[in-house]
């Protein structure tokens, strides 16, 4: 049992507090991804779990054991760094076995463990090479191998793929997913890549300014975000937001959507008050006959196109159109959507209105 529990964890650098009391539980064997905008504290939180940053307040326990003030080496965690942090003067083999060697593990055992890891990661042919002689993806694999070899309870990854190019990134992403399946250890993974988060995670933790905004399975966050921030953060292209005015009778009028009036089956505030209405680009269709919006730019990527349309009131909307959808040729268009796909948020607190 190697689950992980953070209780009211706080981090301060001098006077500035950057993590504001995080509570989080990660199950044994779960793949947990931290996402959030740059500077929100993802890395800091991860490094606190690793023991590389001291915890100012609160408690961290791994596998039921309080490790808040335990040395990094003794927490049973292994970390994969964004820059891989391979020792450039050691071969792949030595890199992977270094930790064991330093901890006095017998040579034969090191050899066996390194062999095993390199088999899993298909590194057998490169064991004698130095990191310099490896491609980015191979280096990344070595870094992972180094983590595997120590057989930790928890794997920590800090944006492990951000230094790879797009193609390799996809490849390694799949590899990591498979690895998780294969060894089944608990993993915490920091990224700011949408796609990685959505595809890898069992559980996504959305962070913002040192606070957790929402925790949940990827599709849960996508379909049922708790607030505007999460709604806008998860999903690509990002959700469109327009202003809405609550009308009598539980409907909302949206000037940004061609003054459409949509019924809302949620507990709306009093009539006349404002709400924020969210609508994903995939859930809008262009109606070439309408004239409520002006097409600004159309980006065609082949399979899909993005239409940037401006409403009369200045609201800007992105519409995702498929190859076979009707495509506007500039000028005025209308938009259509299914009111069931609308999300409503409080204009003040930005909390979801359900």
């Amino acid at each position: 049992m190697s689950g992980l529990k953070l209780s009211n964890v706080i981090k301060r650098y001098g006077d500035v507090q950057v993590i504001h009391g995080v509570d989080l539980e990660i199950e044994d064997g779960e793949f947990c991804v931290f996402v959030g905008p740059s500077g929100c504290g993802k890395s800091t939180l991860l490094r606190m779990v690793a023991g590389l940053e001291e915890t100012s307040e609160g408690q961290i326990s791994i596998g039921g054991r309080d490790v808040t003030h335990v040395d990094p080496a003794e927490r049973g965690v292994a970390m994969v760094f964004q820059t891989y942090a391979l020792y450039p003067h050691m071969t792949v083999e030595e890199n992977m076995g270094f930790g064991l060697k330093m901890n006095g593990v017998p040579k034969a055992e090191i050899k066996q463990k390194v062999g095993e890891a390199s088999r899993i990661l298909k590194l057998d042919d490169y064991l004698k090479r130095k990191p310099k002689a490896l491609s980015g993806g191979q280096r990344q694999r070595v870094a992972i191998g180094r983590a595997i070899v120590r057989g930790p309870e928890v794997f920590l990854f800090d944006e492990p793929l951000s230094n790879l190019d797009a193609e390799l990134r996809v490849e390694m992403r799949v590899e990591i997913a498979r690895l998780h399946k294969e060894i089944g250890a608990t993993m915490i993974y920091v990224t700011h890549d949408q796609v990685e988060a959505m595809t890898l995670a069992d559980k996504i933790v959305v962070l913002r300014l040192g606070n957790i905004e929402q925790v949940g399975a990827p599709m849960d966050l996508y379909r049922d975000p708790d607030n505007k921030f999460v709604a806008g953060f998860i999903g690509s292209p990002a959700m469109n937001f327009v202003e809405g005015v609550v009308e009598e009778g539980g409907t909302v009028r949206m000037p940004g959507l061609g003054d459409a009036v949509a019924p809302a089956s949620v507990a709306l505030p009093a009539a006349g008050s404002k709400v924020i209405v969210g609508l994903r680009p995939q859930h809008i269709r262009v109606d070439p006959e309408g004239d409520s919006h002006t097409v600004d730019i159309t980006e065609s990527l082949g399979g899909v196109s993005y239409v940037y349309a401006n409403a009369a009131n200045g609201d800007r909307l992105v519409v995702e159109a498929r190859e076979d959808d009707p495509m506007p040729r500039g000028g005025k268009v209308g938009l259509s959507f299914d009111p069931a796909n609308l999300f409503f948020f409080d204009a003040e607190t930005e909390k979801r209105i359900r």
Partner: protein, 311 residues
């Protein structure tokens, strides 16, 4: 995952030292260095301050004289005696030695090419820096020799009379500085060469597209990027100028009639040479030199502090 059990049990058995090693380790690593440095550098600085309040010939007992040594220095200054000459020469050194910086830059620019054999050229140009100042001093004394020196031979070619550089109280300091500039220029050159290596080629290209050429490119685009190299060159040159001792000792022994002395040499002469052994007085001169240098040290530390803060 079997190891973690082993790790777990070992936690408590490890020593206090092990648990606190991150706190203790830096001090263990620092201890020998700090010890040496305190004993041989930091304490002596304060001892010198203290000693400058005494009169002592290095043999008998020290006699406390308060600020008398400084008073003597003051009068020497007023009377334009040795101390005044030394101070004046130090300023000349400071100013002229800085020529090593543009000269080093020029040579570096000249050598910053990739023709075949350029590496050998670069290292040969660096030669003078590697050679002992004692040898440099000797070589330049011969160059300046009034009877056979190459300088006078060459002056003869253009019909100029012989000059005795090291024997002329108005020329001697400049002659020694010229000798000192030779290795110092080589030093600055290597600093600039490494600096030029680090110049962002895209900025140069941007400059070319912007129509900056030659000197204007140098001034507006390249030099600002060489700031770190210039800074280091400035620091080492200033320090070299203030520390100048070897060349004077070898080339003139402060002569003729003391006109090529600088503070560093004068204090050695006063404190340790054949006719010297006024330790307190020497210490007072050193303190003055230290105070001058302190301006530069403070400037250096300040700019380093700014940089550290920026990280």
């Amino acid at each position: 995952m079997a190891d973690t059990a082993a790790l777990q049990t070992s936690v408590d058995t490890r020593s206090w030292f092990h648990r606190n090693q991150q706190r203790i380790a830096p001090w263990l690593f620092l201890a020998p260095g700090i010890l040496f440095f305190l004993v041989y550098v930091i304490f002596p600085v304060f001892q010198s301050f203290n000693l400058s309040l005494y009169e002592w010939d290095g043999l008998g007992t020290k006699e406390y004289v308060g600020l008398r040594n400084y008073e003597d220095l003051y009068w020497e200054f007023v009377d334009r005696d040795a101390f005044y000459v030394s101070l004046k020469n130090n300023l000349i050194w400071l100013l002229l030695y800085l020529l090593a910086i543009p000269a080093g830059l020029m040579i570096a620019l000249f050598l910053n090419q990739t023709v075949t054999g350029i590496r050998l050229y670069k290292s040969l140009f660096f030669f003078p820096f590697v050679i002992s100042q004692v040898v440099v001093g000797l070589v330049f004394s011969w160059l300046y020799d009034p009877t056979f020196g190459l300088l006078n031979v060459m002056l003869g070619w253009v019909g100029l009379g012989p000059i005795n550089v090291l024997g002329n109280e108005n020329l001697v300091t400049y002659g020694i500085i010229a000798a000192g500039l030779w290795p110092q220029t080589a030093y600055c050159m290597i600093l600039y060469l490494t600096g030029l290596n680090a110049v962002d080629p895209e900025q140069i290209e941007a400059g070319r597209l912007d129509g900056a050429k030659g000197m204007r490119m140098l001034w507006h685009v390249v030099l600002p990027q060489l700031k770190p190299a210039t800074f280091i060159a400035f620091v080492v040159t200033i320090i070299g100028a203030l520390r100048s001792f070897d060349l004077i000792s070898i080339m003139t022994q402060g002569g003729p009639f003391g006109s090529s002395r600088v503070l560093a040499y004068y204090m050695f002469e006063v404190a340790l040479s054949e006719y010297g052994f006024r330790m307190g007085y020497g210490a007072a001169i050193a303190v003055v030199l230290f105070l001058i240098m302190l301006c530069f040290i403070a400037y250096f530390l300040w700019s380093m502090y700014q940089e550290e803060k920026g990280r």
